[in-house]
């Protein structure tokens, strides 16, 4: 999650590193409908339920196929150096990670998740061999896959799942996802099975365990690292690669897990992840041949590569995040509690101008939180679609007539120059609309996240809400997650809307794809008409790699169907599928 508007020269790297705390918590949002390929129902292979975000139009796109010849037979061996945009985590413990996309891209090679999103728009078991509910979806049984061991030899079983989920529930951030869980225990009848009991019907629960809250770490390592801090940066999981070395801000090395349970993966002997924060530096590193692969949201780089074809490329746009300006909508005395002021800010803004000037015209303008491949996406949501300064001035004037006195706003941004430029442009627009004073507060990146969590802001630049099922947005928007300012919360804007709550709750319990789609669309319209946030654009991630590298593809899931990109967080993929010419 996390940040500003259109990706641009300096935006993606540093900003994301700082802002994306909690996108890592889960991969958020709805299963999607793809612009081109439509598939059938997205129920979950291997599961008795029709869980998760599936409907007749839902599908996960796997983005354009890699430019490399996907038909070639993969060859095992070789090393990959992959430049990522940030080193955003450590402690590398699932319940403690403060994780941006780069962090997920790294750590999901060490930790497997219990479930994964599939190409039918639903979910499938992954490290778990089965995830089955009771009749009313209040109890979920998660069965560990037979024969799997952690890298340290610890067996993966029901106790391991219980340990991991219990820690996630207790985690400051991951605990928000599991707020609805009442108990987690081992099945007395089956030591390979953990039983999760929810406080309410939770049909979409498997989506909550396909991201950070579902990472499975070795209980032996977790226990040891409880008392030895130095072990926290040496993660042990069941994943396709084994931790080899970690030097903060320099390199994370991992080597092949030769005994990986999901053979024939991985193909590579080793991967080195090297953080290079600036998007253009990352591109230059690829140009110099020092690194083999990079990921980027830098519009300039993506557009230039589309034109030149200099590097092989896999663009990931499915279930994407949306960049936007976050509003604190329930602060006592704040003008933003009034929908007229919020919508006035939207009418005053010319988002397309920002996309064209700062974002090289790459990304699609957003009128709501859901990107085009997600369930609930609408071309028109009721949100102002073009700048209308006269309308903005009219709304502000109406507000001022009822609320005399100076009207001021505080807009928070990071110390990134591009973000500041955007903030200054917003300041100009909003002042023109009639806001008497718009002050810009530049906040250092580490403090930015804490400020959001504590709700100490009025207007904030952010990016979030990629994902699969609407339930993955529950903790961002439900009033349960909106305590008073000063308390930590993932509902940063402290939205307290009974209609939104009801829709989220209904979606959580629902298994009817058509109804879930209708609910998500209703949520989208609600955000549009209420102007809870000021929408920016939908993000595209591009994976660029040099000749000889056979880029990321999806893979067949053990219980059938195909995995899709963006499981833990939008924009991520599976490096275990990458191979290199020998």
């Amino acid at each position: 999650m996390g940040h500003l508007n259109a990706p641009s020269r300096r935006t993606p790297g540093r900003l994301l590193a700082a802002l994306v705390i909690s996108a890592g918590l889960i991969g958020a949002a709805c299963g999607g409908d793809d612009e081109g390929s439509k598939t059938t129902e997205g129920s979950s292979p291997g599961s008795e339920t029709t869980a998760g975000g599936s409907d007749s139009t839902a599908v996960a796109t796997t983005a354009p196929p890699p430019t490399s010849a996907a038909e070639e037979v993969p060859v095992a061996g070789g090393n990959l150096i992959f430049a990522i945009e940030a080193d955003t985590s450590s402690p590398w413990r699932p319940s403690e990670m403060v994780c941006a996309i780069a962090c997920h891209q790294v750590i999901r090679n060490i930790f497997d998740t219990l479930t994964l999103p599939n190409d039918s728009g639903g979910w499938s078991p992954y490290l778990a061999s089965a995830v089955t509910p009771n009749e009313d979806f209040t109890v979920w049984s998660i069965t560990a896959r037979e024969g799997v061991t952690f890298h340290d030899g610890t067996p993966f079983d029901g106790a391991a799942i219980v340990d991991n989920l219990t820690r996630a529930k207790a985690g400051i951030l991951t605990g928000n996802i599991f707020r609805a869980i009442d108990s987690i225990a081992i099945d007395p009848a089956d030591p390979m099975t953990a039983v999760v009991t929810a406080k309410t019907s939770w049909a979409a629960f498997p989506f909550a365990i396909m991201g950070q809250a579902g990472y499975q770490a070795s209980p032996t390592w977790l226990a040891a690292s409880d008392t030895d801090n130095s072990l926290k940066s040496k993660p042990v999981g069941t994943g396709p690669f084994v931790y080899a070395d970690y030097k903060p801000n320099e390199v994370f090395k991992m080597t092949k897990n030769a005994g990986y349970w999901n053979a024939p993966y991985p193909y590579l002997d080793s991967i080195e992840f090297r953080p290079i924060a600036d998007g253009l530096n990352r591109r230059d590193a690829l140009k110099s041949g020092t690194v083999d692969m990079i990921h980027t949201t830098n519009s300039e780089t993506i557009v230039a590569n589309r034109e030149s074809g200099e590097f092989l490329s896999t663009e990931i746009a499915n279930n994407a995040e949306t960049s936007y300006t976050l509003l604190h909508v329930s602060q006592e005395g704040s003008p933003l509690t009034d929908v007229r002021v919020r919508c006035a800010l939207a009418y005053a803004s010319d988002q397309q101008l920002l996309i064209d000037t700062i974002g090289a015209g790459l990304n699609q303008i957003a009128f709501g939180p859901f990107s085009p491949t997600m369930v609930g996406y609408l071309d028109s949501t009721g949100y102002p679609e073009a700048q209308d300064m006269a309308k903005a001035q009219e709304l502000i004037a109406a507000y001022k007539a009822e609320n005399p006195g100076p009207l001021s706003l505080s807009l928070a941004t990071t110390q990134d120059q591009t973000n500041l430029t955007v903030a200054q442009q917003q300041q100009e627009w909003w002042t023109q609309a009639g806001i008497d004073e718009v002050t810009i507060d530049q906040i250092d990146q580490a403090n930015y996240i804490v400020t959001a969590l504590l709700g100490n802001f009025q207007v904030f630049q952010w990016r979030n809400h990629g994902g699969f099922d609407l339930d993955m947005q529950y903790h961002w928007w439900h009033s349960d997650a909106a305590p008073p300012v000063g308390d930590l919360a993932l509902n940063f804007g402290r939205i307290r809307d009974p209609q939104l709550d009801a829709l989220l709750e209904e979606n959580r319990a629902s298994t009817d794809p058509a109804r879930k789609k209708a609910i998500a669309e209703e949520v989208n319209r609600l955000f549009g008409t209420q102007c809870y946030n000021l929408w920016g654009s939908h993000t595209i991630w591009d994976i660029l790699y040099k000749e000889g590298v056979h880029g990321p593809v999806t893979f067949e899931l053990p219980e059938g169907g195909n995995a899709i990109f963006g499981a833990g967080i939008a924009g991520t993929f599976y490096p275990m599928t990458v191979w290199v010419d020998q």
């Binding site: 400051i172 130095s230 940066s233 903060p248 530096n281 230059d284 590193a285 110099s288 041949g289």
Partner: protein, 321 residues
Amino acid sequence: MRYVLRKLAQTIFVVVVVTFLTSIALRFLPGGTDVIVALKTGPGATKEQAEAVIKELGLDKPLIEQYFSWMGNFLTGNWGQTFQTNQSIAAEVKRGLPVSTYLMVYGQFLALALAVPTAVWSAYRQNSRFDRAATTSAFAMLSMPNFIVAPILILLFSVNTKFIPYPSTYTSIWDNPMDHFKAFFLPTLTIAIPLYAGYMRVLRSDMISTLQNDFITTARAKGVGTGQLLFKHALRPSLFSLVTSAAVNIGALMGGVVIVEQFFLLNGMGRLTVESIFRREYPTVQYAVVILALIYIFINFFVDLAYAWIDPRVRAHRALG
């Protein structure tokens, strides 16, 4: 000896002041100890956790006691762990120190190695084509700061020609000398170019002045060869300004290292300091700053001693009081 002892006493005083101010810096952060606690434990710390952090960092002690405790930890290498990554701070500094040291030494060495012969010959052949070319190019180099030179070099040598890897990854000289020098080639060049230009102009100017002295004329009359005349008789008395300039430049060199390491993504002390500031790893910043300050202080101490060696007049003048 009295001169050395006086200089040593001054140096120790500066060290105490610097380390004292650094050791208590945590107390004066905006937000106070609450910020430190939040960074160390993450948001939502309990009262007990907060107290433990404050105790661990010695923030509950009187200033003097805190200083001695901090110094004790500093001298014994017990620097604790980073807030976010749980890495040993001492290990982080140990990892970064050689990188920056190599960079500073290589940069200084390359600048001097190029500047001295160029300046000597330029002075000897004053107003010749060589002199004009050398002084003009030096002037141009002086006007090119690190942050301009670095991207140009990256573009030329890494992106366009793939001759030198980018980013620079440190390799020990003992493990792989070729990779070591490849990693340092462009950063060293970036550091050395403006230094070279400054040194060349300073030394050239002093050499021209020296070459006009009577003892040079006498030496020439005695048949001393050009090489011996320039490098044995004229160079040493001309070095005073150069040495001063080189010493003064150490501070600038450290600043340059910070910038250059950021550009080349070389994980030295400069990058460690900057990244630690961004991440608000304050104890790491404390130790990194103290290390850099100590290096600066002690180098200047030795430079002061070197003055006396270079120019006996300094020794005599100071002996007279």
